[in-house]
């Protein structure tokens, strides 16, 4: 475990409580602590924990910010805040179900469209790599991220922050933390962020990646009786964002004529109640989450009137996790739990065809097939409408037993997971066209044709799976670390690719015009679960005498039916989720944290992943042996932190921070014909002050390295998104 990037106890003033101490206080309840059988240090897990101060130093306020800092953990920044495509050890997801779970203050986020949001006053971020499916269940096949925000039981007072950066980026936050007595505390936090953006749409000269966001959080903690703890965190956020700065590879420019935006409202509440007795503890973690968003795109991303897409979504989810744990000391330890969830999704997703789209994608195909009887659409704009309702519910039970024999700890865990999902769809269209007859070189009106589509359907899927985990850990003594081996099964739920409905409906339209292949909705829209077997060996080595911690891990992942996103060639409007035959991934990670002196810290991490197809033939090409797209082969992070006293009491210290993040190579497609070479980004910061008042001047990508974070093809056109260039800014913090 990489402990405390930036957590340097010796740099604290002795009489002050730093709000960034790693780990959680016993009075607090969080899902991570509840499901751990031992200190995270001693668990057979490849885990990285980042403290609050480490995150502040790196300027991280959201999950995307820790990309590359954690080895083999990559979250490309592209599109909008709706896109949170996390890749860990070659396993990831760009659409629909996530591969990495996210818990924020006990709320398990079930929809990754809501993963990307700024979180003020993070106390810690814990990233567990490798399948966590046995204890955390669905969609944690590549790992789980646990975010804990600051507790009023840990810190009292005010925390104010104001930041200004490139692209007219402004962030302000204010948090009030109050402890009523030794048993109860309350925190109220609010934040606002805005930016004008750095990417320009050449079509209209406006910035495309502008953003406004508001968020708030209320955290309440109450130890209402001896042995009992109650914690409730409610959070809400609203986002208005442009987004989607995709440049056309042919011109290198971002230029599209129709609007693109993403708006989102989220509300979450997590209630955790825990009873800790002499021989056992019981914890109940209940959450509710609601997301209401609207994504509207110029789907062709060109300055032409092809088509636009709108996707409006309203989803509400309820979860309940009950964990019973036996005595935490002793040679035998156990925990058991039940998890249940229900989520309900309503979505409207119309695709609007415009003049050029009607001409090139519809009329042209029809008229090439029957040139003697060409057609002309009655209007130059019409919509293919799709409405979905997707209720999903699941129930699972799990157990883990740990047995310590001398220096060895043997662990076995099992989870039985059942899930059912139903897709109710309604596709509709009301349009028409005129047919002409070519006679003696002249077009004469033949007749009108009406197109009414009103297709309703229901598809149901259920999934039952068993998820085991076995591990053996050898302890190297107190503060010596450990060596472990682990075998575990990972699982990502199947589901429905609703974005494919636009293709299904378009083909339906073409079939009604006499040309086209009708798609089987069930076969096109449904996709199967993804399963993997993960084999890992690792070690946590501590050298306290020299202040060094070393974490090592090597892994091999055998993945079946991997869910991959493909953009079909040609003129379709949506993306396909397919289950690739079989893939494998192997690699390793190393993290070193060294306190070289009481004022000099060195952190570095490196991750290598070799992820390839063992078997994948999409009917057109065979991709056996090719690298998996979007998963980087290398991640690299190195950071040096040097603190120098100013000699002036009220000024505190001057801290210099230099860091380098590296990523790549990344292949953009299954055929590996397009890729991004390895690139490195230099960051630096100077912080003046102390824990009470500090001013940080920072810079990111100081060498203005050019790189891309995303690539795709649509209608035969290639698009890329550039990574952010040089950014400079200043952050002022005042805690009192």
């Amino acid at each position: 475990m990489s402990v405390g990037l930036g957590c340097v106890p010796l740099m604290m003033r002795a009489d002050e409580v730093r709000p960034d101490t790693v780990g959680v206080m016993l009075e607090e309840v969080n899902v991570a602590g509840v499901k751990q059988m031992a200190r995270l240090n001693d668990e057979p897990e490849a885990a990285t924990v980042l403290s609050g101060s480490a995150l502040e130093r790196l300027g991280v306020a959201a999950i995307k910010g820790i990309s590359d800092v954690v080895p083999n953990f990559y979250v490309p920044d592209y599109g909008s805040r709706m896109t949170s495509s996390i890749y860990v050890r070659g396993i990831g997801a760009r659409m629909d179900q996530p591969s990495v779970g996210l818990n924020v203050d006990n709320v398990p986020y079930l929809n990754k469209d809501a993963y990307d949001f700024d979180i003020p006053d993070i106390a810690s971020v814990e990233m567990l790599r490798g399948p966590q499916s046995t204890l955390y269940g669905r969609n944690t096949m590549a790992g789980v991220i646990n975010v804990t925000t600051l507790s009023p039981m840990r810190y009292q007072g005010w925390r104010l922050m104001a930041e200004y950066g490139s692209g007219e980026a402004i962030k302000i936050s204010a948090g009030w933390y109050h402890k009523f007595n030794s048993r109860a505390g309350l925190a109220i936090v609010g934040a606002y962020g805005s930016r004008d953006g750095v990417f320009t749409n050449q079509y209209n000269g406006k910035k495309v990646d502008h953003e406004r966001n508001w968020s708030g959080r209320v955290k309440f903690h109450w130890r209402f009786k001896d042995g009992w703890n109650l914690q409730n965190t409610a959070a809400a956020g609203y986002l208005k964002q442009g987004g989607y700065p995709y440049e056309w590879k042919e011109t290198g420019e971002i230029a599209y004529n129709d609007t693109c935006f993403y708006h989102r409202f989220t509300f979450t509440d997590g209630l955790a109640i825990r009873y800790s007795g002499d021989n056992y503890s019981v914890a109940s973690i209940t959450s509710v989450q609601h997301i209401n968003d609207n994504m509207t795109l110029d789907q062709d991303f060109l300055p032409e009137d092809f088509f636009t897409l709108t996707q409006k979504k309203r989803e509400t989810a309820l979860t309940e996790d009950i964990v019973v744990k036996g005595k935490e000391d002793g040679s035998y330890r156990w925990l058991a739990g039940i998890f249940a969830f229900y989520k309900h999704l309503d979505m409207d997703a119309p695709v609007t065809f415009k003049d050029r789209g009607i001409a090139d994608l519809i009329e042209k195909h029809r008229n090439e097939a029957n040139p003697m009887y060409p057609i002309s659409w009655n209007t130059r704009e019409f919509s293919l409408n799709s409405n979905f309702t997707i209720p999903t519910w699941g129930l699972s039970a799990y157990h883990e037993s740990d047995l310590t024999l001398g220096k060895w700890t043997l662990s076995a865990a099992l989870r039985l997971d059942y899930e059912k999902s139903v897709l109710n769809y309604l596709s509709s269209c009301d349009t028409g066209y005129a047919i002409y007859q070519l006679t003696d070189g002249k077009y004469e009106y033949y007749r009108d044709t009406e197109i009414y589509i009103n297709d309703e359907g229901r598809i149901s899927r259920d999934f039952l799976t068993l998820l085991p985990k076995l591990s053996a850990t050898y302890s190297l003594g107190e503060d010596g670390g450990n060596i472990y081996v682990k075998v575990s099964k990972g699982y990502k739920a199947g589901g429905f690719n609703t974005q494919m409905f636009s293709d299904v409906l378009q083909q339906r339209l073409m079939v009604m015009m006499g040309v086209g292949t009708q798609y089987d909705v069930d076969r096109i829209v449904s996709y199967k679960p993804e399963k993997s077997w993960n084999y890992e060996i690792g070690s946590h080595l501590l050298f306290p005498e020299i202040g060094v911690r070393l974490d090592l891990a090597a892994f091999y992942i055998d993945c079946r039916d991997q869910q991959l996103t493909m953009f079909p060639d040609g003129t379709t409007t949506g993306r396909i989720m397919t289950n690739a035959g079989r893939t494998r991934s192997f690699g390793g990670e190393i993290s070193v944290n060294a306190e070289l002196t009481d004022r000099l810290i060195l952190n570095c991490s490196y991750g290598y992943t070799n992820a390839r197809f063992i078997r994948f033939n999409d009917g057109i090409s065979d991709y056996k042996g090719k690298y998996l797209p979007y998963a980087p082969r290398n991640t690299f992070f190195v950071q040096g932190i040097w603190s120098v006293p100013t000699g002036v009491a009220w000024l505190g210290d001057v801290t210099f921070d230099v860091n380098i993040r590296g990523t790549g190579d990344i292949y953009w497609n299954e055929s590996n014909t397009e890729h991004q070479n390895f690139y490195a980004l230099l960051g630096a910061g100077i912080t003046l002050g102390d824990d009470r008042l500090s001013l940080q001047l920072w810079g990111k990508n100081l060498t203005d390295t050019k790189y891309h974070t995303f690539y795709f093809k649509s209608m035969g056109n290639e698009f890329l998104q550039r990574g952010r260039g040089l950014e400079l800014g200043a952050t002022l913090r005042y805690n009192f």
């Binding site: 195909h365 090439e368 097939a369 029957n370 040139p371 003697m372 009887y373 509709s428 009301d430 028409g432 066209y433 047919i435 033949y446 007749r447 044709t449 009406e450 197109i451 009414y452 589509i453 009103n454 297709d455 339906r508 079939v511 009604m512 015009m513 006499g514 040309v515 086209g516 292949t517 009708q518 089987d520 076969r523």
Partner: protein
Amino acid sequence: MKKKLIYALAGCSLLLTACNTGNGENEQTMTYPTCNFVIPKDGTTPTMSYGSYTFKSKMSASLWDMSVSTTSLSINNTARTFVTQTYPVVNVGGYKQIIKNVSSDPASGGYEISNGTFMLSAYDNLPKDFLPNKVFTPTQKDEKGKISYIPGTVFYPNMTGYISPLVVAQYDFGSEYKVKTFFCDAFYAGKTNTSYSLPNGMSGMAESEKMVYRVIMDLDKKKAGIVIYNAKFSDSDKEPEKAAIYIPGLDITFQGESYEISGKDIIPLIPEGNLPALPDPDKFTPYPTFKFNEFKMVMTNSWLTSTRMEFSVADTYKGYFSGSYVKIPENM
């Protein structure tokens, strides 16, 4: 879709009565439409006509017995009747029921038949994902603009309502005629082999089991039309797949104890958009690009269920289809 076409023999029918006799027996009486091919044994011209057969089934001690009768067998423009005796039903897996060595007793009423074999069957040969009704079920729009499908209507002429189970039968009618049943609106599935040669020099061969042929016969006019579903005559990307292409105005001719359907230089039609409530080929669009230079269909078994079709299209594509609309069991 397939479930609509595969009829539980205890299910959809034009006339269905069922009762429990109270003695632990079940009786069912079902009447199914079909067509009759009447072949004079003296070699004169056969005739085709519409008709129906009534099947009376009785189950006792878990065994089915069945008898057959008809009141609409047209011979020399006169409706003939017969009632057979009761025979044990042979179940041949799936939705097939057969009675063999069937004869009637004129003393019971009607005419004499002999050497009869009758089979009731569902469509069992269609591709798994065959979905014509999804596309071509007629729709209507009410005054509020709400769109709904008209249930029970099927794409093209002569057939309304659900397609009933198939009657496959042969028998001797008296000493003068041999009668074979056939289905005048049948979906044939099997394998189509095509070869093509394009003006730009591209050529190739392709094989498909997706193409389904619906043969619709107008017995009064002795004309037939054939709908080819999922029609694609090559594996070239240049040729679009046609959900349905209709070849009208083919001639029905008799060949011995069988018949043929053929035509030349026919411009096919494609349906476009939503169909009106009543099917009307005049609302289809001519498709000159795919003119059928020649088309010929011959029946390849004595039960008139299997066929071979040969066609050439646009002077570019040649196709050969071999298939059936229902499988005949080996012990039939």
